[in-house]
Each structure stands twice: as structure tokens, then as C-alpha cells.
Amino acid sequence: MRYGTGPEVLREVTFSLAPGSFHFLTGRSGAGKSSLLKLMYLAHRPSRGLITLFDEDIATVPRKRLPLLRRRIGVVFQEFRLLNHLSAFDNVALPLRVAGVRDSTVRKNVRELLHWTGLADHMKARPPTLSGGQQQRVAIARAIIAKPSLLLADEPTGNVDEAMGVRLLYLFEELNRMGTTVVIATHSEALISRFQHPVLHLEDGVLTTRHAAAARSGATGEAPSTSAAGAKP
């Protein structure tokens, strides 16, 4: 993976994620975490290598089908990327509206989720009027509203205190228990040691896998559902 004619940002990255697994993604700033996530949420195509997502080869999937794949991926962006002119409610509803879900269903599901994430009193608030933690919860709610098969989060605990970070992690674990594959990019060793999930570690564009003591599933073999990025020099 490279940008333009620059050096390869990701070089030796071979891994596969079992469906229902939970991984942390670590690495210093600039190690390529965001680039790897971008490949996984289909913002970029790899300059070489193979990505298989939901059993489809990304290189050969017709462009027309990509939106359908993207709808199965929930993303919590590092800088949230909420739409500031829309209310919290409309922001969370966006993935459903984009997918053409009926309005009555949209209203019901979004209201439910906002209650669940403790944002019931802020449904009509626009993101700029919310605190950082509240914006983050809106972003997370938007990522999970469509019940994605794969949840990718880029530093989701970056803007909140530790207690909040832990609560968010519990939220992600809950989702994971319901079957969603989760990958969380983070710097926080505290969270990693606390939650004991396997760690994908990126260094200089090379990926290594570190199994936590209590790892439930590894990153092995052929991918049943979600696998990403193979590129050998």
C-alpha cells in the first residue's frame, strides 16, 4: 500500500480475522494503522496484494457492489467525522437512510440506540454543541446502528478519560458478543492489558501478531469472513 509515488506505507501485512474475533491494533504514530484501517473500510485499494473481505476479493469486486460491502462495516473515525449541520439523531440515522431503510424503522432503531448510549437528551443537538465524549458516542452509535459485521475504530478512546474509555470498550465487547468482528486501533497499553485481546502490531509497515494470554481466537489460516492485506516485498 502506498500513496501516490511515495514509499510503501504497508509492506508485509498478512493476517486474517476470524468472524466474531476482537483485536487491538497498535503501533507508533505513522506506523500505518490508519492506512491499514482505510484499506479495511474500503477507502483505498491496495497498490498490490490481496484483500478478501466477506469472502470477496476487493480487487475484482465491481465498484457497484462496494457500497453493499461498506454497509456491513461500521467505522468510528479518529476525528469522528460527524456532519455538523445535522442533529445527533440524523447523524446516527445516516447509515440506515443511505441503505434505504424505512423511516419508521429508522426512527425506532435510532431512538433506541441513543437511549442505550446515554444520548437520549441530546437527540436534537448538533455535534458542535456536544462535549467530546458525547460526540464520540454519537460517532460510535453511527458506526453500530446498522449492526455491522465488522467494526473498525480508530483511537476511539483518544478523546475521553480512562473511565469513559473503559465503558466504551465494554460497549464494543458487548457488540462483539453479538457476533461483530471488532478491530480497535489504540495507543493505550492500559486498555490492552486490561481487556486481554490479541494484538496486531504494526511497525514500519510490517505487521506482527501478539497473542494475549486469554486470547479467544487467533489470526490463523484461511479467513472465513474477514481477512486483509497480503503484500510480500
Binding site: 473500510y41 474500503l42 477507502a43 483505498h44 485499494r45 465498484r63 462496494l66 457500497p67 453493499l68 460491502l69 461498506r70 454497509r71 462495516i73 467505522v75 467525522r81 456532519l83 449541520h85 445535522l86 440524523d90 445516516l94 447509515p95 437512510r97 443511505v98 441503505a99 423511516d103 453511527r142
Partner: protein, 295 residues
């Protein structure tokens, strides 16, 4: 609160307010050109239908011929024409009428008696089976070498040519105006996309199809196009109305009264529909084409 689902996503930009006015001016031009072209077509139609079915026979005076002898020749020709197949009526135009026709050039009270004026015979064809011009022409020149048939053909052809050219110019301008409108909408849509780059990216990444994103811009373009069209035909209607008021004050002997037909008005009234559809289509094409660059 009832909102269209697709109105949700874009915030309104202030610069978008200008677009309907520019489209309005374009529509105004198109409206006037179209009205002009339609009026010309009505005019041509009227003149042609007035003139087909009639011909004029000119009878040239001979050297040294007396009034009476000339009068005899004309009478003979009139009777000949009246007997001919396919002629409904033939009437010699009396001298005072000819004098009236010539008055603008010769002035009132000219001594017409002393001038060797040609006489005119007005011939109206039988509508059911009109006489052949060729047959009539040979018959007349056999009967009287001084008789010349004028079927207004050359004049009519030239007039039709002129009006056709004017109509083509008007049509060309309408096309140019449409092209310019497309250009305006492309420009506006592109700047709207640039202003909403972040929104477009987020929509794209959460799985919006290109047509969904395009629809956001189409809705805006549709309403801009329609409002622009309304501004244009409002200005156009005001202009046409004041022109027709001014024309009513003119001496109408020079110009036959011409007015647009009902379907012409309908066509002009449909202009906002056309601009709305053009804007909608253009916005869609612009957005979809530009989104294809994304993964």
C-alpha cells in the same frame, strides 16, 4: 417535522442563491427568442395563406394606346379568366384603387391619367380544383402579349427565406442558452461538491451509492432550475406584454395583427419545467462522473 429524506444531508450554501437568478436571465433570453421565432412562424403562416389561392395579372399599356382601348383589353382578359377552369373570380382593380396603392410613392393628386399605368386583375382560384399556373400563363400570353402573371412566388420565397433564417438564429440562441445553463449548473454543482467534500466522503464511506449522493445535489439543482425558469418567464411575460401594448398603438396598416397561439403560450410556460429538468440531469451527471474517481 416532515422533510424529504434526501434534503437531510446538505447544508445550504450562500452562493447557491445566485444560481436561480443567472438561470432566470438565461431563461428570459430563451423566452424572448422563442416568442420571436413563434411570432415569425405565425406571421409567415398568415401571409402564405393570404397569398396562396390568388394571383395578380398585370396588363402593360401599349405605346400610344388610348384609355378606352386599354380598358377593352382588360375587360376581355377578365372575361377570359372568368371562363377558365379552376378560377373562382377575376376582378379588374379600378384605377382609383391603383392610385391609392401608389399614393405613398407618387403623392396624392398625381396626374395618373397622364401616366401609362399598368392595370391589375385580381384572380382568385377555385379552392377545390385550382387552375394550373402554367396553363394560365400560356393562355394569357396567347391572348394578350401585354399580360403578365404574377404569382407572388419570388416575393414569398424571399420572405420565407428571411423568416426561416431569423427563426434559425432564434433557435440557435435558444440552444446556446441551454448550453450556458448546463455550464452554470455544472459550475454550481462542482463548487457545491467542493464545499461538501467532507459530507460526500462520509456518505461514501458509510455505503451510500453514487446516485444517493447525486440526489442530494439534484434536488437543489431541480429547485434552482425551476425557480430560475419562473424568474425568466415572469420577466419574459412582462416584456412581451409591454411590447404588445406598444404595438397596439402603432398604425396597424403596415403590420398585420399577429399573436401567439395557445400552444405557443403553453410552450413558453413550460420553460421552467425544461430548466428544472436540464439542471437536474446536469447535476446528476456532474456528481456521478466526479464520484467515479473515488474507490
Amino acid at each position: 417535522m416532515i422533510r424529504r429524506r434526501s434534503d437531510l444531508v446538505l447544508s445550504r450554501e450562500p452562493s447557491a442563491r445566485l444560481v436561480p437568478w443567472i438561470i432566470g436571465l438565461m431563461t428570459y433570453l430563451a423566452c424572448l427568442m422563442l416568442a420571436g421565432a413563434l411570432l415569425l412562424s405565425v406571421l409567415l403562416e398568415q401571409w402564405t395563406s393570404d397569398m396562396t389561392g390568388t394571383v395578380t395579372v398585370q396588363v402593360m399599356p401599349m405605346e400610344g394606346e388610348s384609355q378606352e382601348a386599354m380598358e377593352d383589353r382588360v375587360d376581355k382578359l377578365v372575361r377570359l379568366l372568368q371562363r377558365s377552369q379552376g378560377v373562382a373570380a377575376a376582378r379588374s382593380i379600378p384605377l382609383p384603387e391603383i392610385a391609392a396603392l401608389l399614393e405613398p410613392w407618387l403623392g396624392a393628386g398625381a396626374a395618373l391619367d397622364e401616366l401609362p399605368l399598368p392595370r391589375l386583375i385580381d384572380v382568385t382560384f377555385d379552392e377545390a380544383s385550382p387552375a394550373s399556373l402554367e396553363v394560365l400563363r400560356t393562355m394569357l400570353s396567347n391572348a394578350d402579349p401585354g399580360a403578365v402573371l404574377d404569382d407572388h412566388g419570388i416575393w414569398q420565397e424571399q420572405l420565407a427565406g428571411l423568416i426561416g433564417a431569423l427563426g434559425a438564429v432564434a433557435g440557435f440562441i435558444v440552444v446556446l442558452v441551454a448550453v450556458a445553463t448546463v455550464g452554470i449548473v455544472i459550475f454550481a454543482t462542482r463548487s457545491g461538491m467542493a464545499a461538501h467534500q467532507d459530507v460526500i466522503e462520509v456518505l461514501h464511506l458509510i455505503g451510500a451509492r453514487d446516485v444517493f449522493i447525486a440526489r442530494q445535489f439534484q434536488n437543489l439543482a431541480l429547485s434552482q432550475g425551476f425557480r430560475g425558469g419562473l424568474i425568466g418567464i415572469a420577466l419574459g411575460a412582462a416584456t412581451l406584454w409591454s411590447l404588445s401594448r406598444a404595438a397596439a398603438h402603432l398604425d396597424t396598416s403596415m403590420l398585420p395583427p399577429v399573436s401567439l397561439l395557445a400552444w405557443h403560450w403553453g410552450l413558453l410556460a413550460a420553460l421552467p419545467l425544461a430548466t428544472a429538468l436540464i439542471a437536474n440531469w446536469t447535476a446528476k451527471r456532474t456528481v456521478v462522473r466526479s464520484l467515479r474517481k473515488l474507490v
